[in-house]
């Protein structure tokens, strides 16, 4: 395989069976999005959003992100000669902050206790105050689900003859919306299942309910199920993925596998469940849960 640049290596990630995690008689596959160039599914979204953006000369990219999207945008911006500023909650994992800086993005920290909502709000204020900034805004940008409809979902439909359920993490909703819509075309009865983080109290510091936010990209009516996963359950499943299958994946991937196993158990024998693993474990390596410690509820894991 030869590519003109790293951008040509985004997508077309492999599917691998999880024989040591699948319940008897069912098959769970993992789609390894950690194998994208910067190590996460967000490379797909970043490329599509930048390609669809119409920037005037002198304009720069701005995005609120807790890490992966920023790192992906930093790669795409670098290779396309654009400048990028990311607004990032202070309690994002240190590896994600360090990587973002190394890839060349400018980082603005938002208050950790306000979580992603705080980063979104701060980025909106910056963009409103300075016309130089173009906010791509993955929560609202149709290029986000489109990247998954044309990429992630189409690849799964191409590679598998049967899919009874697909499970992905719920963040912006882009993966679930795009993959779900594409898979329903090929497998009309497929269940589209969201694994959703149960946030620890320390990262739920909204000032009021009115600070709540439902991403416009997300249409909950398009989900068949939406299941909460605690940080402890996600960490335990991430450990199981590594211990049993040798797959070193991130916390949200643990949550997705936790849900995939539950869904597979409830489906009839012969069923096929696809789990979308958003990133590798590298950006969480400093986390002590790998050593069996309790997971830190004050960190923003997704």
């Amino acid at each position: 395989m030869v590519a003109e640049s790293l951008l040509g290596l985004i997508g077309n990630t492999p599917l691998v069976e999880l024989p040591r995690i699948s319940p008897p008689g069912r098959t769970i596959y993992a789609k390894l999005e950690g194998q994208n160039p910067t190590g996460s599914v967000k490379d797909r979204v970043a490329l599509k959003m930048v390609e669809n953006a119409e920037l005037a000369p002198g304009q720069e990219l701005l995005e609120p992100t807790s890490g992966n999207t920023g790192i992906s945008l930093a790669l795409v911006a670098k290779l396309k000669g654009l400048r990028l500023t990311c607004v990032m909650p202070a309690n994002a994992t240190p590896e994600r902050k360090a990587l973002l800086a190394l890839y060349g993005a400018t980082i603005v920290e938002s208050p950790g206790e306000l979580g992603s909502n705080g980063a979104v709000r701060m980025a909106q204020e910056i963009a409103a105050a300075d016309g130089r900034y173009v906010m791509l805004f993955q929560y609202e940008n149709e290029a986000n689900p489109a990247a998954h409809y044309e990429g992630t979902g189409a690849e799964i439909a191409r590679d598998l003859e049967r899919v009874d359920a697909v499970v992905a993490g719920l963040g912006t909703g882009g993966t679930l919306m795009g993959v779900g819509r594409r898979l329903r075309e090929s497998f009309p009865s497929v269940q589209v299942v969201a694994a959703e983080p149960l946030p620890g109290d320390p990262v739920m510091g909204l000032r009021s309910l009115d600070d709540g936010y439902v991403p416009p990209v997300l249409d909950v009516t398009q989900l068949d199920r939406k299941l909460l996963v605690s940080n402890a359950e996600a960490a335990a499943a991430a450990r199981a993925l590594l211990d049993r299958e040798g797959i070193f994946a991130g916390v949200s991937s643990g949550a997705v596998v936790h849900v995939a196993r539950r869904v597979a158990e409830e489906l009839p024998e012969g069923s096929v469940v696809v789990s979308v693993l958003a990133d590798g474990g590298w950006k969480y390596l400093s986390a002590e849960f790998w050593q069996g410690e309790e997971i830190d509820e004050s960190v923003l894991w997704w």
Binding site: L170, E196, P199, M204, L209, G212, Y213, K226
Partner: protein, 90 residues
Amino acid sequence: MSVVRIPPVLRAEAGGAREVEASGSNVRELLEDLSARVPALGSKVYAEGEIHSFVNVYVDGEDVRTRDGLETPVREGSTVILLPAMAGGC
């Protein structure tokens, strides 16, 4: 009787409690019982026969919006979790 877990942003309405008890055989009955027991909390979560759009209600870990909404059954001993809608994502 079910345990209803309260997120930090709504605890002031529940007198600081992290969880309260409420009963009902489905989500509608449970939220009406909750509104009768803790009116300040109930009115933030449930008004005019609808769940507030920035509140998610989970019965045994599953969002009732992807089940049967207010008609979602609640079993004796079920855990009900209330959460504010938050941006996730990465």
